[in-house]
Amino acid sequence: MARYVANRLAQAIMLLVIVSAIGFAILHLAPGGPLSQFAASAQMTQEDLDRVTKQLGLDRSLPIQYLDWFGRMLRGDWGRSYRDGEAVLSVISSHLGATLELMTTATIIAVLLGCWIGVLGALRRYSLFDTLATVGAMIALSIPTFWFGLVTIYVFSVKLGWLPSGNRQTVGDGSLLDLLHHLIAPALVLALVETAMWGRFMRSAMLEVINQDYIRTARAKGMPEWRILTVHALRNALLPMITVAGLQFPTLLGGALVAETVFTWPGMGRLFLDSIGYRDYPVVMGILMFSATMVLIGSFLADIFYAVVDPRIRVG
């Protein structure tokens, strides 16, 4: 097990290095590179620019600059926002809570609903329910999330007036009920795609399991059907879902960004778009690197967790 973890950790670190190199390359792709904020100001003369270039160490060779930048990233120095001079990491962390709240709620809905649909679809394969669920999942995966958000706002906020059309809370009202009221629409919109994914994966995992010999043996022993389902089938079918959770993470994060833009949810995605609008490159880069690192850690944890619950993996 220790060897497996060490192996995976080494892979994750190698990936982190490549990810950071890609991030660094994008940073230098910006018009004017890291200097763009100064170049945009009319008061800066070429002399000033040269001085800043030297000060920031931008006259050094790219590999040296990269190592310096990567080192500062590791130490937690992610630069400062152009907008208000606040440290990038603290800007991100102040918006992280809202995003995590949205993602967690949507994931809980998606996992429960998706697994239920998937299991039922597998047990009653090719039934009307299964057909509708399969077709429905495909349509859910094809609807643009932001447009679905707009339609939700139109129906439930504009027409019916049941739900607020955006934001995380009513100003001046800090009650839990108010928070939940604001959470419903964006969480459901984000959960749509996730539910469809979980349903599809759960269905195929369940189909894989219920034709196995040990299920037949359990039936032959006269074990009650519900026990076969829960103890034997579901337990094994849920295993690959750990990997699915890891793989789904980037999609979930991207989906959160989309849902946040439509519902003006004050999370990381909203911050990302605002920062793009203000050409606040340090924050844009910070969020890009932060989300990639989160994905990396997520898939690393999924691998480790899978190995813990399924010993077959560690050997292979």
Binding site: L15, P144, L150, G254, V295
Partner: protein
């Protein structure tokens, strides 16, 4: 049909695939809808009396099915149907061209990584893994914000964020096909590595490649709609399905049709490509039958 009526002569692979595909009614419907959308976008604008960029401020916010404008007009009095068709040209072309570029890059990377394996393969595939760490939309928006917006940039950027899945598929295929007799035979004939890769191995992996390509178009159309919706893709006055939704949120209360028409067009196109891809997967390789 009874089993006795079934043909006993084995069908040619192409024929068998067509039979399986035909049975997939949703895929067939998808193919028909895609054809209609392409024809409608290509020739529809010539049949309409309105130009997609013609501004008629007196007729702004005309609701659909009321008078000359079938789908109504937008905030500047432009005909929504005309914009939908012209937008279709842009969105569908971007989807297809981005797919072609992504396939070219993905197939090249996957073929080299799968064929050479070892260090080359490991480095290329770790690069694929690393790019996949970035949530696609974040990466696409960051790149779009750093570059000059326009149809070409948008297409290239979408391709740049969509080639990795193809590379993975091709790499796995090439790696396993490399050991097969026909590949070894080609090597014995003295064929060059490049020839073996692209004349022998890749054509034999065509089934999963075609499926990946179809699904890739769906993904590219979705991505284009999103960047354009946010204003970093296709720039007005040119229409795209995404940028038609640009102002839709502001007028959601007074003119909901502005949001509904382009959104339905995107959903229809993406759903059709996804069903088509699903049907092709069932038809071309029954063993890959993943639900």
């Amino acid at each position: 049909m009874t089993s006795a009526a079934l043909p006993t002569v084995p069908l040619a692979p192409g024929q068998a695939a067509w039979r399986r595909f035909r049975r997939h009614r949703l895929a067939l419907a998808g193919a028909v809808i895609i054809l209609l959308l392409i024809l409608g976008s290509a020739f529809g604008p010539y049949l309409l009396p309105f130009d997609d960029t013609y501004i008629d401020i007196m007729k702004r916010f005309a609701p659909p099915f009321s008078g000359a404008h079938i789908l109504g007009t937008d905030e500047l009095g432009r005909d929504v149907l005309a914009r939908l068709m012209m937008g279709g040209r842009v969105s569908l072309s971007i989807g297809i061209v981005a797919m072609v570029i992504a396939m070219a890059v993905g197939i090249a990377v996957g073929a080299f990584a799968g064929f050479y394996g070892g260090v080359v393969g490991a480095v290329l595939m770790r690069l694929v893994d690393a790019v996949l760490c970035f949530p696609t939309i974040f990466l696409l928006l960051a790149l779009a914000a750093l570059t000059e917006p326009g149809p070409v940039t948008t297409t290239v950027l979408i391709a740049a964020t969509a080639w990795m899945a193809v590379a993975r598929v091709v790499e796995a295929q090439v790696r396993s096909l490399r050991e097969r007799e026909f590949a070894v035979a080609a090597l014995a004939f003295g064929s060059s590595n490049l020839r073996i890769m692209f004349r022998e191995l890749v054509p034999n992996a065509i089934a999963p490649i075609v499926v990946a390509a179809t699904l890739n178009v769906a993904k590219a159309i979705l991505l284009e709609s999103y960047v354009s919706y946010l204003g970093y893709g296709i720039q007005p006055p040119a229409a795209s399905w995404g940028n038609m939704l640009n102002n839709a949120q502001i007028y959601l209360t007074s003119a909901p049709w502005l949001a509904i028409a382009p959104g339905l067009a995107i959903t229809l196109a993406v759903t059709s490509f996804n069903f088509l891809g699903d049907g092709l997967r069932d038809a071309l390789d029954p063993r890959m039958n993943i639900p």
